[in-house]
Amino acid sequence: MRAQEVVEQTLAAARHLHGCTVLVRESSQVALRWANSTMTTNGHTTSRRTTVIAFVALDGGVAAGVVSSSVAVTEDAQLRDLVMAAEVAARDAGPAKDAAPLLEPDVEDRAWDEPAVETSIGVFGAFAEGLAEVLAGPHRQYGFATHELATVWLGTSTGIRRRWVQPTGSVELNSKTADLMASAWTGASTADFADVDVLALAAEAERRLAWSNRRVTLPAGRYETLLPPSAVADLMVYLAWSLEGRPAHEGRSALAGPDGPRVGEKLTALPLTLASDPAAPGLEYEPFLTASHSGEGISVFDNGAPTRRAEWVREGTIGELVYSRAEAAEFGTRFTPAGENLLLTGGSADSISDLVARTERGLLLTCLWYIREVDPTTLLLTGLTRDGVYLVEGGEVVGEVDHNFRFNYSPLDVLRRATEVGATGRTLPREWKDWFTRTAMPPVRVPGFNMSSVSLGR
């Protein structure tokens, strides 16, 4: 059954309810994975998921129940069963605290009737040719490339009909010397692989491997540290995931102050802005909200609401927090959906090489790994440096540190203590890329970054 038909038939089966929202999401994904310079696992998968949200009027309010299924829909009876199951879930859940009137249509989506868009292994055409050349080279190669086209259709009993196609792609290249003593990493996020130059990525990894010709051992301690865009992205994504308004009001968040949320607090004199923007060129995401669950900052009642640019940090000051419509009403503020991209801007036009050139003594990182929250009251995170820590002296890289470090640091302190911020560019957050690829970040200089202990891991 066509996705549009699934939406219409489901809404027809739900006419007796207070309201209903249907989400159909079809995903087409191809992946290449390689290790030890040979292909390991790869494939092409297609899946479709139908999510039915039933809204039921009960004594005391409106309840919501969500049922989702990837079973192929071949007959109307399946959809009636989904509606029935969602209705039962809603009745059993009881009146919802996040209830809000369902939204009305505000635009006509001319693409509504179009089919799902599929990717194919062919998207890797030129990339695969370059990759074959890289794999035949002298270093041991490990990595992963994936491309997904996800088509989503949203329909509501109030008449909203929206469709969106989200491309998501990334490549990671991990090169190691034959003796496995040195390891380098490069990565990129992309919408279509047309802009991925795998030979250039491999050349950059090779340049970094050459830095390992001189190795130095360093103790744990606080170092002036140059965080490259990927590392900044991983730290800022975690911050973005910690911006729910409710916990900040209730005192159980690093963004909670003694008198309420820390909105308006100055973090830095640098004019840094951390924002999500559905219209950011090359990093676009859905112009309307889709939500298949409710939680802090998100509500199934808000499906179809327009997404918008939100500035989480504005010119160095804590700006907006995330609120569903019901939470915005409860706390007297503005509906602010979470973003699906993240951009940190406000730095200079300088590249990471420019920052290196101005460094008397410091560490240049490649990326971060295994980032976890240690203390939620300060958003203290721990994690590891990975695939290359380089010692910078007198404005140039003089060698590779012979080990990694475990760090303990808060992304809020990265913003508070940054002394220099360079030019923003598209980057891939290595740790969180399974969930978040659309980021544009600058390189950042942080004095006294806490390298808490030495990790022997390479």
Binding site: N42, D92, L135, N404, N408, L456
Partner: protein
């Protein structure tokens, strides 16, 4: 094990016809091996904030997957449609993928021979299918638990949730193995929060109940005493809020199984995965310091350290009858007398290690993902000779900390350097507990840490803990895994003060 528990809706699918269509098409197209999986995974999450439902969601994932070997190269494809035509078309697509990628595949796949298991069936042990219990009753139980905590002094907020999964899997391959299996698991969580606005801080205390391969009976008294634990949480939280901040330094640690399981998971479980050890995960999850050339010689820990892998322990989250290579599951040693002696393997990796048989660790988390070597239940054996209690372990510490419950975790990509926090930490002075401490994290290198283990608790301290959310591979796969674990004692471990770390 009664096989008639298997969900009749799953049995009603045209499993044999799908297998016939996919496997014969793959054979016709020249595949030397082909297998078909048909899966139906039902899951339900229920969330409550401060006693009110924030979400009830029910998810069903269905699909079929075909995996082939063509001229020594893997191919994989999956689809949602469970029809013989689609099964055959998916087999074609898998063969296509193998042929397309043959030029860049340097290695040729060689697999261990395994006995054929025709028409085998297996179902996990549980009493009450969670999906047979009305949502209303589940909500009522979680709401009542929440209200109990909210009614206590010092508890400002409560989050409660429960995730329930019923997983049905059919497997058939060209060698003649065919299995139908069912697993049920459940993961409850309840966390109380105390807010101190004046001091600008907050603290939490969570239930220590692990997720388990059990049914709804787990929440009503079988396998965990929730009533007893809920009664203690408010006072434990109140004590934690007032506790002094730890002084950083080296301490002797007595670690409860509710915390130590996660250290085993990260520092032994992942480190003894053969695919990691030979670099298959090098660009993502990472590699392992415990490389195959050190098998039989690597000093992993003290002589008291004996770690097993298994897919057989009752109620274990990784427990299953047959893996996704069609291999019957088993138990084996990973670390014996403190020395590395084994790895977790699938049929492709066993021959590389010079072994004739797999130990049954091939697993895919969904019909849309390719099976990879996945973690078994990796467990530390309790002292077989003496049933040493937690109190006795503590009595042997002059100046130390007793660590209870897991919270934050992080370990490097070779599984050397780790840092863990916990739910609560008790100061030990002169062999006795002397109140809670705050802001504690312990940090160590794997071999130093396990080398410092000078006492292991007895069978009465043993618990089967575990996680529902172990991640690995690209595209990412999530698996559930249990870890059997006694309490144990470690000498001279580095303890951090997390407030100081954050300055």
């Amino acid at each position: 094990m009664p096989a008639d528990r298997i969900d009749p809706e799953f049995r009603a699918l045209p499993l044999a016809a799908l297998a016939d269509a996919a496997l014969s098409r793959a054979r016709e197209l020249g595949a030397q091996h082909a297998d078909l999986r048909v899966e139906r995974i039902r899951s339900q999450g229920i969330d409550l904030r401060d006693g009110s439902v924030t979400g009830v969601s029910d998810t069903t994932t269905v699909g079929l997957a075909v995996r082939v070997i063509v001229d020594g190269v893997w191919g994989f494809a999956s689809h949602v449609e469970l029809t013989p035509d689609r099964a055959a078309a998916t087999a074609e697509r898998a063969v296509d993928v193998a042929r397309t990628l043959a030029p860049v595949a340097v290695e040729r796949v060689v697999r261990a021979d395994e006995p054929v298991h025709a028409d085998a069936e297996w179902a996990s042990a549980y009493d009450v299918d969670p999906f047979a219990v009305p949502v209303r009753d589940k909500v009522a139980l979680l709401a009542e638990w929440s209200q109990r905590l909210l009614a206590s002094d010092g508890v400002d907020h409560v989050h409660a949730d429960v995730l329930q999964v019923r997983e049905n899997k059919f497997y058939a391959d060209t060698a003649g193995t065919s299995t139908v299996q069912q697993r049920v698991r459940i993961g409850p969580s309840i966390v109380a929060t105390a807010v101190d606005r004046a001091a600008g801080g907050f603290e939490t205390m969570a239930s220590l109940a692990p997720p388990a391969g059990r049914g709804w009976e787990y929440l009503t008294g079988t396998g965990w005493d929730f009533d007893g634990e809920l009664a203690r949480i408010p006072e434990l939280l109140a004590e934690k809020v007032k506790a002094p901040s730890v002084q950083a330094g080296a301490y002797d640690l007595v670690i409860d199984p509710t915390n130590l399981w996660l250290t085993i998971h990260e520092s032994v479980g992942h480190a003894t995965e053969y695919d990691r050890a030979i670099g298959y995960e090098a660009a993502y999850a990472g590699t392992s310091f415990a490389t195959p050339d050190q098998l039989g010689t690597l000093r992993y820990g003290s002589e008291l350290m004996h770690v097993t892998g298994d897919r057989t322990v009752p109620h274990g989250l990784a427990t299953v009858g047959y893996d996704d290579d069609g291999v019957a599951t088993t138990e084996w040693d990973l670390v014996r007398d403190g020395v590395l002696v084994g790895y977790q393997l699938d049929r492709t990796f066993a021959p590389r290690l010079g072994l004739e048989r797999s130990n049954g660790c091939a697993f895919a988390d969904s019909p849309h993902h390719v099976p990879i070597q996945r973690m078994a239940n990796v467990s530390l054996r309790p002292d077989p000779a003496r049933d040493t209690s937690v109190d006795e372990l503590i009595a042997g510490v002059d100046h130390g900390i007793y660590v209870v419950g897991d919270k934050s975790w992080s370990i490097d990509m070779q599984r050397y350097n780790f840092q863990f926090t916990g739910q609560r930490f008790y100061r030990i002075e002169g062999g006795e507990l002397a109140g809670q401490l705050r802001d504690v994290a312990y940090q160590a290198t794997t071999t130093d840490f396990w080398g410092s283990m000078d006492a292991v608790g007895g069978p009465s301290t043993w618990q089967l803990q575990g996680a529902m959310n172990c991640g690995k591979a690209q595209p990412g796969q999530v698996a559930a895994v249990s870890h059997g674990c006694p309490a144990a004692r470690f000498r001279g471990v580095n303890v951090l003060n997390t407030q100081e770390e954050g300055r």
